[in-house]
Symmetry: C2
């Protein structure tokens, strides 16, 4: 059994046992997102800094006592997590920064951070004896769920906006998902998937609906903490769509703080595209979220109605962080800069956090002496069209030396 | 300093010290591929099964004493290797196989096995003080070299056939490579890159020209051995283009055997596409390679003039293995089967080895009781067009429940 003490509604504060609720607060409805509260005193008895450091399980499951898993035999076979954290030496030199770490979460099984949440989703679905699992997604959560489901033989129905990048849809289909490409936005696909869940009785993995997804995503922060040898950075930059990853990062640091493994918390910075910045405007303003029509090429964060807004804004404000918006051009430039200086290939939403850090440095919001962590949430192979915008064109030549010389002299 | 004893020409048997030669045998010319011979007795003094098992370096560098590295400070930052080996339970059940392991080498930094060789290439280039590195490639070796070079700031000139998949070219450009898209085949791009190396004095990473590439690729086998707890399978299935990976696998097993870490060697099976099967025909025939015009969608192994043919055929024959060819349709079907049963997404050349194993099982070339390892050499995101052929089409629907019902009933 897990060490969950209770599930607490973010809106009304009502508390439930895991057996009492499946998704959101029965009193508050779909808006009443539930937060998982652990019994840290009990966890401490079985899980210490030493036992963790000794562990040879180099995957997200090294943090099992901090995860909502009742039956570890339901964990899927795909190796999720323990992605590399790079001390980005070449960028630091180039920008004269003292400390910069880049977490490449595009190294997960389906090439995005979302694998961490889907790994939890398939455990919960199997624990409940569910046979069909569903979700709505801009693409990455979907492909991660389809891959994880395939690995354990769960049937899955996936809702994506019809405009999702071809690579993500290809992943879904190869993983054997039934894919509904919805004529509409991600926000409409999300509503439809909730409706379908109620109509057909499928198990739903949606962000900020299923309360356990933040718990999977927090493992990215747990890893960063260990990879930094329990040192805490000043800032963690996170690209934000629904706001579930940034809450996961907050939860990971809070978990480690509650266990006494670290002695302070980092400031969290939400980075969004200028064409879709509801969370940035809310945290930099009075905390009120105004829904928007997304207009950005960073498809994974083209979320006009951020589902986890309440929790995300609370977490950013509690951390004394801030929001920053970057243009699509800055996102594209950051892809090229990251790729050509460090060999890390990010999709647009993956480079958005990095673009935000570059801008914050330029604007003086952070200093060159600050300790900064960037999370790259997805691999660039997921969106080749955008990569080509970033990379430019090859030199087409005939197979002879003269053609090389001519091309080089141009 | 490394534990290299000598470099030995595969054709004439002449021996050289590492300082004497850079690429191929001076007597035999470009055909005289050199093989790296280690001083195993010396290695044994510093590298034991116990020291290896104790190592916490979960990357290809855990095998440093078996690698041609003189100056470990030149190792790049990208985390290469220690990719997962899956005991493919769902496929085993489905096919009633007793033992099947799948190594997912698409989990490397640029999403292919080639990262293992490129990681060595940038070490050697830096050790020699080279400033520019080049290679010809069907795509994966190129993108791995561009990524690795970016991570250490080496300028790189890359030759690919103009027809290389868009995703691989996009990777190259994002990594900041100068990309020559050659109007011609891979075989022509290869010749041109050798010519350019001689003309411009660049450092060349080409397969079966640079003698150290097999050494990087062998780490995939070293890992499989450890991941299988030093148990040796009956067969290892490898997709074959130039034949450098399969020789790497042979070398990895031979290294471990020479050190006494394992007590036998596996049979190696070369899998090629029916439209490009020079190695398969040679090993199943009299050992003579007839060059062909490649005709397959598996671009990474569309190699009509296999550069490492002599070594590959020797290694397959020594292992008492065989060759098997599969159709493009079988390659595509294997992508879908692998994806939908295990959540592993392979590019066409990545699923070719698996398609070969399925066929060998069907044809009775191997039995259901054999211990079989499959190497998946590259991720499916590298070739989305082929993935779409494998996966099929999504169900396009309007955002309402009725549309879901209608789509499901079709």
């Amino acid at each position: 059994m897990s060490y969950i003490k209770k599930l607490k509604c973010l809106l009304c504060g009502a508390e439930y046992s895991p057996e009492e609720v499946k998704y959101t607060c029965p009193k508050c409805g779909d808006e009443g997102i539930l937060e998982i509260i652990y019994d840290y005193e009990e966890i401490k008895k079985h899980f210490t800094k030493e036992s963790l450091t000794d562990s040879r399980d180099y995957s997200m499951w090294r943090y099992l006592p901090l995860l909502p898993v009742d039956d570890p035999s339901k964990i899927g076979p795909l190796k999720v997590g323990w992605t590399p954290l790079y001390s980005a030496e070449r960028i630091r030199k180039d920008l004269d920064m003292q400390y910069l770490w880049i977490k490449d979460d595009g190294r997960n099984p389906t090439a995005s951070l979302k694998d961490r949440a889907s790994a939890i989703a398939i455990v919960k679905a199997q624990e409940l004896g569910e046979k069909i699992i569903t979700c709505a997604s801009t693409g990455n959560a979907a492909s991660s769920l389809a891959g994880a489901s395939a690995s354990v033989g769960l049937k899955n129905y996936i809702f994506v906006p019809k405009t999702a990048p071809k690579a993500k849809i290809a992943q879904l289909l190869v993983f054997g998902a039934t894919v509904f490409a919805v004529n509409g936005t991600y926000d409409e696909a999300f509503e439809l998937s909730i409706e379908a869940t109620k109509e057909f009785g499928w198990y739903n993995r949606n962000t900020a609906f299923n309360p356990y997804m933040v718990e999977g995503k927090k493992t990215v922060a747990l890893e960063i903490i260990e990879e930094m040898n329990f040192e805490v950075p000043d800032y963690v930059f996170v690209s934000v769509g629904d706001g579930c990853i940034i809450s996961g990062v907050a939860k990971g640091y809070t978990d480690m703080y509650s266990l006494g493994f670290i002695d302070r918390l980092p400031k969290l910075v939400a980075v969004q595209a200028e064409g879709c910045r509801p969370i940035v405007d809310a945290v930099n303003g009075d905390g009120t979220v105004k829904f928007v029509e997304p207009n950005t090429l960073a498809d994974s964060i083209a979320v006009g109605v951020p589902r986890n807004r309440v929790m995300a804004i609370r977490d950013i404000e509690n951390s004394e962080g801030f929001g920053i918006a970057v243009s699509d051009d800055e996102i594209i430039e950051a892809i090229k800069y990251l790729g050509s200086t460090e060999g890390i290939f990010a999709e647009p939403a993956g480079s958005t956090a990095f673009a935000g850090a570059l801008k914050a440095l330029k604007n003086g919001k952070i200093s060159k002496a600050d300790k900064v962590v960037i999370i790259v949430t997805g691999n660039g192979l997921k969106d080749v069209e955008s990569a080509i915008k970033a990379g430019g064109e090859p030199l087409v030549i005939n197979p002879d030396i003269e053609s090389i010389k001519k091309a080089l002299n141009k």
